[in-house]
Structure formats: C-alpha cells, structure tokens
C-alpha cells in the first residue's frame, strides 16, 4: 500500500467538507450567531439588573442554569468515558465516531461551567472561590475536578488530532496559506514514523485510562454537590452511580444525534453506516434499562420509607409536576427502550428519534431533581409571594440556555471545518493493519 498516495486521496476526499461553506452552513452559522448574540444581550441584562430578571429567588436558588450545567458536564464526562473505552476496542467501526465523541467531550466541558457562573449572583466575588477555597466543600472539589478534566481532555483531543494535522500539512498545498501555517504549527513536526507513532499511541492510551478515571471521579463529585446535602430528594447514597448512568445515557444520545447530522449533511454514509447506529442504539438500550432501574430504585425507596419530607416531595412531583414526571421517567426511558428493542423499528431515523426523546427526558429528570426539591424545603415557607415559592424560568434564562446550545453547535461546526470529522489517520491505520494481516497470511 502506498501510504503517501492514500493520504493524498483522503485529503482530496475530505477537502470539500473542510474548506467550503455551503449556503446551508452559512444559514446555520448566521442563525447560531443570532442566538448567541441574544444570549449575550440577556447576560448583560442579568449582570446589570441582577438575578431579579431570572426566575431564581430566595427559596428556589437554582433553576435551568444548573440543569444545563449538569447536562453539559455529564455529557462531557460520558464523552470522555466512551472515548476512553473506544480506544481499547479493537474494531475498525470505532474510527468513524471517535472524533465526534472527542469533540463533544471538550466542547461540552467548555460550555457547561459557563452555566454555573450564571448561577452566581455576585460574579465580582468569583475569585474568592480560588483565594479562600474550603477543601471540605464539594463545590471546591467540583472546581478542581472540572479544571483538571478540562486540561486533560484538551491534551487528549489535541493528541488525537496530531496525525491528521500532519496529513493535512503534507497534502494541503491547495489550501489557503493561513490553513497551511496553522496545520504546520499544530502538527508539531509529526512525521508519522513508527517511533513517533508508537510514542503517540502509548501516550493516547495512557491518557485514555486517565480520562476514564477522571470522568468517574468528576461525575461522582458533581453528584455529591447534591447528595451530600440533607435536602429531601438529594440526600441519596446512589446518586453518584445514578449520575454516571444518566450521564452515559445522555452522552450516547447526543453522539447518535451528532452521527445522524454529520452523516446527513457531510454525506459520509459510507463511513458512518447503519451498523454504527445499531451498535450505539443497543448501548442506549442497555443504559436505558440501567437508568430506569436506578430511577425506580431512587423513588421507590423514598416512597417506601415514608419520611415526611420525602413524601411532601413525592406529592409535589405527582401533582404540580405530574406530566413532567411522566415524561422524564416513563416516556424518556420506555420510548427509547421499545423502539430499539424491536428489530423492525431499528432504523437510523427511529434510533435518532429515540435519542432525542432520551435526551429531553433526561433534561427534564434533572429539572425534577433540582426545582421541586427547592420548592419543598424542610422549613415551611409562609406568607411569601407566589414567585418566591414556585420557580418559572424567564426569557433571560431561556435565551442564555439557547445561546449555550448554539455556541456548542457552532463550535462543533467550526472544529469539523478544521479537521475531518472522520480521522484520516485512523482510516490509514486500519488499512495498514489489514495489509499486514494479508501479508502475514500470504507468508503462511
């Protein structure tokens, strides 16, 4: 196999996807920028007027910002977890989804923490968290975990990009000068020699183990922010594993949706095939069972113990939040399960649809973990205004949430304009391995 020639072919194949911006891409970029600008305007209003413009008040001090924070951070941890696991699997199938997973991991870890900053009423005191950290506080643990994980994920993502940067550097003579310079800088003189390849693979494998461990630690720390308090609905011993399973559920769901969109709009049908959706769908099916089991176990033990405050919370969930509860914990689990369980429904579109349902259900599940608990505190709320007791998100919060999602999508689009969404180095590695096998068989 002539590797240099093959690299050239791959660059030629992926170049249109990287360099050209079609009308559709421009339309979406414009729309996403509009959403981001609306979010920035909402942020300025929030900074100037304070949290008064949000639905958060004395009792319900957390709203959809923290839910978005948990959603994105869990998405990142699950991406890191899945990516780490994929590196140890010896299947050529993994190559087509690896980069999608890695990009989702890093982007969500950048977007997620921004939402926690929006929860802070006095942003001018943010630096106090670093000047006066309290080692006993789960919030401090979370800050350390997120920062450490972010650095780790960046290094990991960069290392997986290096071989492709090198291919683009060596074969991108037709590209604009700035791109050539950028690839030269980012490729770090990588020449794809056996020694360099071996060293890089060893580093990536070590880092894979590291980020799996880090993801588990960071997931647990995030869950402990809630479960180490005595609040009804939060004080639970299974919250850490529950968060891990829930995070993986949303992670697999987002990966399936990203695969669907990339396949459709990048015309990569021959790289991202039905088998990828089937495998990812089956993983989603298994996780939906685990997630459903944890959810049932969590609520059943609360109901059975019949502690006054837990029962008050359950009453709130089954009255004011009845339909939300049904959607989060029944539809969000059972619809994906039944779609993927029956082979005849296992089409690409239906698997993607089940992922959308799973993600929306999971987001709602987080809403039900945060808001109803804060609305039913230990000390009864008396003689106060309705909006102090019951939370309702304002347009500012929705605008900032949509702005966050738009930033995530926009960055994803821009990163896949920098490197191919399917790693070219992975394709070459697979082909090289196949050739080695064939040669070995011939010799035999």
């Amino acid at each position: 196999m002539d590797i240099a020639k093959r690299k050239k072919e791959l660059v030629k194949e992926f170049a249109p996807n990287i360099i050209h911006f079609g009308a559709l891409s421009k339309f979406w970029i414009g729309l996403l920028l509009a959403l981001i600008l609306t979010g920035i305007a909402a942020f300025i209003i929030q900074v100037v007027k304070g949290h008064e413009v949000t639905g958060m008040r004395d009792n319900v001090v957390w709203g959809i910002y923290i839910i978005n924070f948990i959603f994105f951070v869990c998405l990142s941890y699950s991406g890191a977890f899945i990516s780490g696991i994929l590196h140890f699997l010896k299947t050529p199938l993994k190559n087509s989804v690896m980069r999608i997973v890695e990009i989702i991991t890093v982007l969500s870890l950048i977007i997620g923490p921004i939402f926690i900053l929006l929860c802070i009423g006095r942003l001018d005191r943010l630096h106090y968290l670093f000047i006066y950290p309290r080692i006993q506080s789960p919030i401090t643990w979370d800050i350390i975990a997120i920062l450490t994980d972010l650095v780790g994920c960046f290094i990991y993502l960069y290392m997986t990009f290096i071989p492709d940067f090198a291919i683009l550097r060596d074969n991108g003579q037709d590209q604009p000068i700035w791109r050539q310079k950028l690839y030269r800088f980012l490729a770090m003189n990588y020449q794809d020699t056996p020694e360099q390849r071996q060293r890089l693979n060893k580093l990536i494998r070590t880092m894979s183990v590291m980020i799996i461990v880090l993801a588990i630690v960071a997931y647990s720390v995030l869950a402990w922010i809630f479960s180490l308090t005595l609040q009804p609905g939060w004080n639970s011993t299974i919250f850490a594993p529950y968060f891990i399973v829930a995070g993986l559920y949303s992670g697999v769901g987002v990966i399936i949706i990203a695969m669907f969109l990339v396949r459709k709009y990048r015309k990569l049908d021959h790289y991202i095939r039905k088998i990828h959706f089937n495998v990812a769908g089956l993983v989603l099916l298994i996780i939906s069972l685990l997630y459903g089991y944890f959810t049932f176990s969590e609520y059943f033990s609360r109901w059975f113990s019949h502690k006054v405050h837990d029962i008050n919370l359950l009453n709130t969930l089954f009255s004011r939040y009845f339909w939300e509860f049904i959607f989060a914990n029944y539809i969000g689990v059972l619809v994906p399960f039944f779609i993927i369980f029956f082979k005849r429904f296992r089409t690409i579109k239906l698997i993607t649809f089940s992922s959308v349902v799973a993600i929306l259900g999971l987001w709602m599940n987080r809403y039900l973990i945060v808001v109803p608990t804060l609305e039913t505190p230990y000390i009864p709320i008396q003689d106060t205004r309705a909006e102090f007791i019951n939370y309702s998100a304002t347009w500012i919060e929705w605008a900032l949430s949509l702005g966050g999602i738009a930033t995530f999508v926009l960055f994803f689009m821009l990163i896949v304009k920098l490197v191919p969404v399917v790693p070219m180095s992975g394709i070459i590695d697979n082909e090289r391995e196949n050739n080695n096998h064939k040669s070995a068989n011939k010799i035999r």
């Binding site: 559709l24 339309f27 309290r134 003189n189 990588y190 998100a393 929705w398």
Partner: protein
C-alpha cells in the same frame, strides 16, 4: 437546496413556537380579579419614644390567602389629623415587600383632641389601576416603662403603664395586654403574657436563660394592636442570663477552618498523580516535536 432551507425554516418556526408558548405559560400574569387589595396601618412607639408609622399594601389571593403579592412603589402619605387640620408627618414609597415606613423622633409634638387622643391617617391617593386607600388610627400616648430590679433577691421584671391627663397627672392604665420576651438568635422568645393591673405588672424573671458571654440578655415588653394605644415597645438589657462560655475552636473537622487531614492527603495524591501524567505527556509531545524537527532537517540535507 431551496427545499432544504425551507425545511430548516419550518423546523425552526415550530421550535421557536414551542419555546415561546412555554415561556409565556411560565410567566403568565396574574388575573387581578382573583386578588383582593389590602391596606394595613400601624403606629409603634419605640423604646426611645420615637414613633414608626408603617403602612402595608398588598394583594391577597381570594382562593389562597397565604399567597400575598406586595404592591410596591406606591406613595403613602402619613397625616396627623385634628378636626379640619391635617399635618403631614411624612411620605414614603412602599418597598418590594409592600411596606412604607416613616419614623418621627420622640420629641415630636402631635395634635391631640380634647380627650387626649391622637388621630393618624395613612393615605394612598390611587392610580389608574388601583383605587384610593386610607386607614385611620386613634390612639393615646402611653408612658410605658420596663424596670429590671431584684426584689427580695428575686429577679423581677416590672412594667408600668400610665397616661397623662391635661394637667400632666399620671393615670394608671388597666387591662392592657403585655407580652414579655427575651431576644434570641432568630426571634424573640416569649416568657410571660399578662394584663397590666392598676398601671403595673410584675413578673419573676425565669432562671437559666442563655445570655451572651457576659450573661447580658435583652428583655422586651410589648403592647400590640391595642385599640387605645396601638403598638408600644419597651426594652432593657441586663446581665441576668447565663453566660455562654466561649466555644473552643475545633480542628480537622468537616465544619472547622482546617479540613480533616486525610482530605489533604487524598486530594494531594489524586492531583499530583493526574498532573504528573499531564506533565509526562507534554514532555513526550515535545520529544515527538524535537525528533520530527531532526528528521525534517536530515531529509532537507
């Protein structure tokens, strides 16, 4: 391409429609017909003889009376009235709790009628959305005193209440209901409630109440919502409480300033392990870069 763009636009319209609907539902404005406007007015004579004129303006839900929505930024005028004379005592706007307050010093001279009563009014002029509101109070000035003395070695709280007639002679008050309490961390703790008889009320101070580190404790005597006197407060501080020993700070606890030792150990091991791996990775990446540079130079040669 056009068809694709149209499809995207339809999708966006549906999505924004859903979002706007949910947002409107969440921020639905309250239907005013479900609310009843309430306007309350109290006058409180403070321990330093100053008077606090307080109006409370809010709307209460007809179905759920616990639900109160304050009316804020409403301008309330406080007046002292005697027949045709209306003396403006002050004006205040209601705050976000729906409360407007004006405080006048103890030496302020109020207009009194022939029976020695002072007539006060809180008045809201009204707006397009809200009707005019007013509330009157007719109260007498009460000389209310709290004494804390030991009577035959018994720590005794003595409350005296009297009014003055036009000649300045003290007239003892009877049947005014007094609540005695001590100041606590979160609120006042009631220790006795009784009627004043012939201008006096004597109560034994309970033993064992916690004071500050020197045993100081603040005692309050309060007449509240009295038809004749309104609200009157008197207070005294005395060292009759049990001194609270200073707490010795604990160390290496979850709630102490310094965390448990094992936390530092675990955190250090975790962080050093992870960051050392990052450093190792970066060093190796730089080696890859160096090797690549060397190779590139060799191939150039």
């Amino acid at each position: 391409m056009k068809l694709l763009l149209k499809k995207h636009l339809v999708f966006l319209l549906v999505l924004s429609g859903l979002l706007i609907t949910s947002s409107i539902k969440g921020q639905e404005e309250a239907d005013m017909s479900q609310y009843r406007v309430r306007f309350g007015f109290t006058v409180t004579k403070q321990p330093d003889n100053s008077r606090v004129f307080k109006a409370e303006f809010y709307a209460s839900n007809r179905k759920n009376r616990r639900e109160r929505t304050p009316i804020y930024e409403a301008e309330i005028q406080f007046l002292n009235i005697l027949e045709d004379q209306e003396i403006a005592l002050g004006t205040a706007k209601t705050n976000k709790e729906g409360i407007a307050e004006v405080t006048l010093p103890g030496n302020y001279k109020y207009l009194k009628d022939a029976e020695g009563f002072m007539n006060f009014r809180a008045y809201f002029v009204g707006t397009d959305a809200l009707d005019e509101e007013s509330e009157d109070l007719r109260i007498r000035d009460l000389q209310f005193q709290l004494d804390l003395v030991e009577v035959d070695s018994v720590q005794t709280i003595t409350v005296s209440a009297y009014t003055k007639d036009s000649l300045g002679i003290d007239i003892p008050v009877s049947d005014a209901y007094v609540v005695l309490s001590v100041e606590g961390m979160l609120s006042r703790m009631v220790i006795e409630e009784d009627l004043v008889d012939a201008g006096e009320l004597q109560v034994e101070f309970p033993k064992g109440l916690p004071g500050d580190k020197d045993g100081n404790i603040t005692v309050f005597a309060l007449i509240e919502d009295d038809d004749t006197f309104g609200n009157v407060v008197a207070k005294q501080t005395i060292d009759w409480g049990t001194p609270q020993a200073q707490r010795i700070p604990v160390e290496n606890m979850l709630w102490s300033e310094v965390a448990p030792f094992w936390m530092y150990v675990v955190l250090t091991i975790l962080l050093v392990g992870v960051w050392a791996n990052y450093a190792y990775t970066i060093v190796n990446l730089l080696k890859i870069k160096k090797d690549g540079k060397k190779m590139a130079m060799e191939s150039d040669d």
